[in-house]
């Protein structure tokens, strides 16, 4: 068993997880909920083993480093963090239906990582600039933040479906009747965005400290840095509209989804569409 096999399996296990969670929506068996959670947790453990194995394999090749250094590794880690964060949310708020919206994000990320021809899966040696402990701190904090924003966006979609469906009748209304009340979804959206905001702040800060120890500048308005700041501004604006303008509900759900679009551009768009110091992340 090597890491690429374990990570390949992960794509399919997350696909099956998605199916299980959607099945909870369609059929009303409470037992399915328990099965979905256990299966997803096991799939996450397999992915963890895959990531750990890749780390070990890099040392065996004499180019040992944490598996966080190119696009393939970061997408895999992103998917891992989404599931971890989702399982935490599921445990804290005791609502399994969120899985039908959040787990697909992790599945799609793994599918992209596994099947895209843009990404090299080989374990590559690190250029000197990336040989630093700050690599782990910076990448982990950023991706925990991204994962929280992904779950917030998933909840935003769920909220919008619940809100529109409650004004209709028919099969659509049937599904969404199983969702928690809009006020509860709204509350969880808020909490996940706050969590993501704090971790993104940590991610930007660790990036700045690392940049200063490597290049002598903690901020150089490089496209990646600037877009991470744009995303940070976006979520800061959302937090302020909620606290002081009383915005909630549909507006916040939409903003959560747009915010994630900004996250995706910061993470992915910048590497492929713009150029700069962060070009490590491309392919």
């Amino acid at each position: 068993m090597d890491s690429s096999q374990l990570l390949g399996i992960t794509t399919f296990t997350y696909m099956f997880s998605t199916v299980l969670y959607i099945a909870i929506l369609v059929f009303r068996t409470p037992k399915l909920g328990g099965i979905a959670t256990v299966f997803t947790a096991l799939a996450w453990c397999i992915q963890t083993a895959g990531i750990a194995l890749r780390w070990i394999e890099s040392y065996r090749q004499g180019i040992g480093h944490a598996p966080l250094t190119n696009m393939y590794e970061s997408v895999v880690f992103f998917s891992w963090t989404i599931i971890l964060f989702y399982l935490f949310i599921e445990w804290k708020f005791k609502t399994k239906i969120i899985g039908a919206f959040a787990v697909p994000f992790a599945f799609l990320a793994m599918a992209y990582a596994s099947f895209s021809t843009d990404l090299t899966k080989a374990i590559n040696p690190l250029v000197p600039a990336l040989q630093s402990n700050w690599l782990i701190a910076h990448v982990v904090t950023c991706f925990v933040g991204y994962a929280a924003f992904a779950v917030a966006a998933a909840l935003g979609i769920m909220y919008l479906l619940k809100n529109t469906a409650s004004e209709t009748t028919g099969p659509a209304a049937g599904f969404s009747s199983r969702f928690p009340a809009p006020a509860i979804i709204d509350d969880i959206i808020h909490k996940t965005m706050v969590f993501g905001f704090i971790w993104l702040s940590g991610g930007i800060i660790t990036g700045a400290i690392w940049a200063n120890s490597a290049w002598g500048t903690y901020w150089s308005w490089d496209p990646k840095e600037t877009w991470s700041l744009i995303t940070w501004f976006f979520y800061a604006i959302i937090l302020h509209t909620r606290y002081t303008r009383g915005w909630s509900g549909t507006k916040i759900a939409l903003l959560a989804i747009f915010g994630f679009a900004s996250v995706l551009f910061t993470y992915y768009g910048v590497n492929f569409l713009l150029s700069g110091l962060h070009s490590y992340g491309s392919g």
Partner: protein
């Protein structure tokens, strides 16, 4: 409305904050789409003369330091300062207020409130302070004629969290301003064995005096099999007035700092020169020569002539060099030596050891930034403030005992400014605890 009131209302509004953040976010996008810091010709070629001229008017080629972008940042700072000055005094009042002076009727109006009526003797037998302590609340109390009031609170300083976050942003800006005005950023290429007393500024390539001398003693580099650099480091020495002060090895991510100026290993350049060390084995005499490619040199005292006549290269990097060596009148010998390796030559009766290494220049980025620690302090305070603002809340509990009427009363109430659901549970637990104590 006076001018001051209008000014204050404008700058203390959250609407302004939201507008400014939106403006900063939207305009920041422009700078990522239009390449920054390029020459005038670049913009003319890529966008056309008219658009390039438009860019120049708005300083879009360096937009993050343009007057209007800095103006937006200034607007944000003013907004932060005025908002904090406007709202903090009332928060301070809440934090420092004497909660025992509360009018009893107000107690019953809180979000969480409950009233009990018990028999007199039961009520007076209870150690109410003790009951509160058992539940983790440490009360202060005040006795009046026929009543007693207990108060306890947790996390009142968490109300400062949001103000810490906002102050941290101001600190970060302050650090950036300090760094901009009393710091510099530049670079220098120093060949091995050479030194420099100045560096060249990024902005305009002007020389900047360091105030001391920095010498590159040696540069070492290793490559991966695929030709990518694996690791490279330099040995640097700082000299003042010719005296060696300190010597350190630096590598990428591990810089050297002296008198507030930091030297970062950032690049390198391979030269077409070689560092050749010749040792006469019998006497142990050894000498280092800096040898240009394909140039003959001699060590007169030992009657030696030598030169690098060929080299095998990958990119700018020498893998092997072909050394030509002649001692006295003996026939010359030619040998390939791997870079940074050595070979033995026998000429007549004498043995010599020669090492040949490609000469590199170390590429250093040099920065002086007195404001960087202010920025880091701001970052720490921001994380602390965010944690306080979102994960801590100010919780307050009042317990009021009134013996005045025929039916003595006990009132319990409390409030929290955040996470009220969780506080509701805490309140109910305390309520149950008191009820059980009374019913015993």
């Amino acid at each position: 409305m006076t001018l001051l009131t209008q000014f204050w209302d404008f700058f203390s509004s959250v609407k302004l904050a939201i507008f400014t953040l939106c403006a900063l976010a939207a305009t920041s996008i422009i700078g990522t789409l239009i390449p920054q810091g390029e020459t005038v010709d670049f913009y003319i070629q890529n966008f056309g003369a008219k658009t390039a001229h438009f860019f120049q008017i708005l300083d879009l080629q360096d937009m993050y330091y343009s007057w209007w972008f800095l103006g937006l940042l200034g607007l944000l700072c003013t907004n932060l300062i005025i908002c904090s000055l406007d709202r903090f005094p009332s928060v301070w009042k809440i934090i420092t207020t004497d909660n025992l002076a509360i009018a009893p009727e107000r107690i019953t109006k809180m979000a969480n409130s409950t009233k009990w009526e018990f028999g007199t003797d039961k009520l007076n037998q209870l150690d109410l302070a003790g009951l509160l302590k058992e539940s983790g609340w440490h009360p202060s109390s005040k006795s009046l004629d026929e009543s007693e009031i207990f108060f306890s609170q947790k996390g009142r300083w968490s109300r400062c969290g949001v103000y810490l976050v906002h102050t941290s942003i101001l600190l970060i800006f302050l650090g950036a301003i300090i760094g901009h005005f009393s710091g510099f950023k530049g670079s220098i290429m120093i060949p091995e064995k050479s030194s420099s007393e100045k560096v060249f500024a990024y902005k305009n390539n002007q020389p900047l005096a360091l105030g001391f001398e920095i010498r590159c003693n040696s540069f070492a580099i290793e490559f991966y099999d695929n030709g990518m650099p694996k690791e490279y480091k330099s040995s640097l020495t700082v000299l003042e007035d010719g005296r060696e002060i300190l010597t350190r090895n630096i590598e990428v991510n591990s810089p050297l700092t002296y008198r507030g100026i930091t030297f970062y290993q950032s690049s390198f350049q391979g030269y077409q020169n070689f560092l050749v060390t010749i040792t006469e084995n019998s006497s142990g005499d050894s000498k280092l020569f800096t040898l240009p490619f394909q140039k003959q040199m001699s060590w007169k005292e030992k009657e030696l002539q030598f030169g690098i006549i060929n080299a095998e290269v990958v990119g700018q990097r020498v893998v092997r060099s072909k050394v030509w060596f002649k001692a006295g009148d003996n026939p010359a010998s030619i040998v390939w030596i791997k870079d940074n390796d050595q070979a033995d030559f026998t000429s007549g009766t004498k043995k010599y050891t020669i090492s040949a290494k490609q000469m590199y220049a170390t590429g250093l980025q040099v920065a002086k930034d007195p404001g960087v620690w202010v920025v880091y302090l701001g970052c720490c305070i921001m994380l602390l403030g965010l944690f306080m603002a979102f994960f801590m809340s100010h919780q307050r509990i009042w317990l009021y005992k009134n013996n005045s009427s025929n039916t003595p009363q006990l009132w319990l109430s409390g409030s929290a400014n955040k996470n009220k659901v969780a506080f509701g549970k805490v309140f109910n637990a305390l309520k149950t605890h008191i009820e059980h104590a009374v019913q015993r």
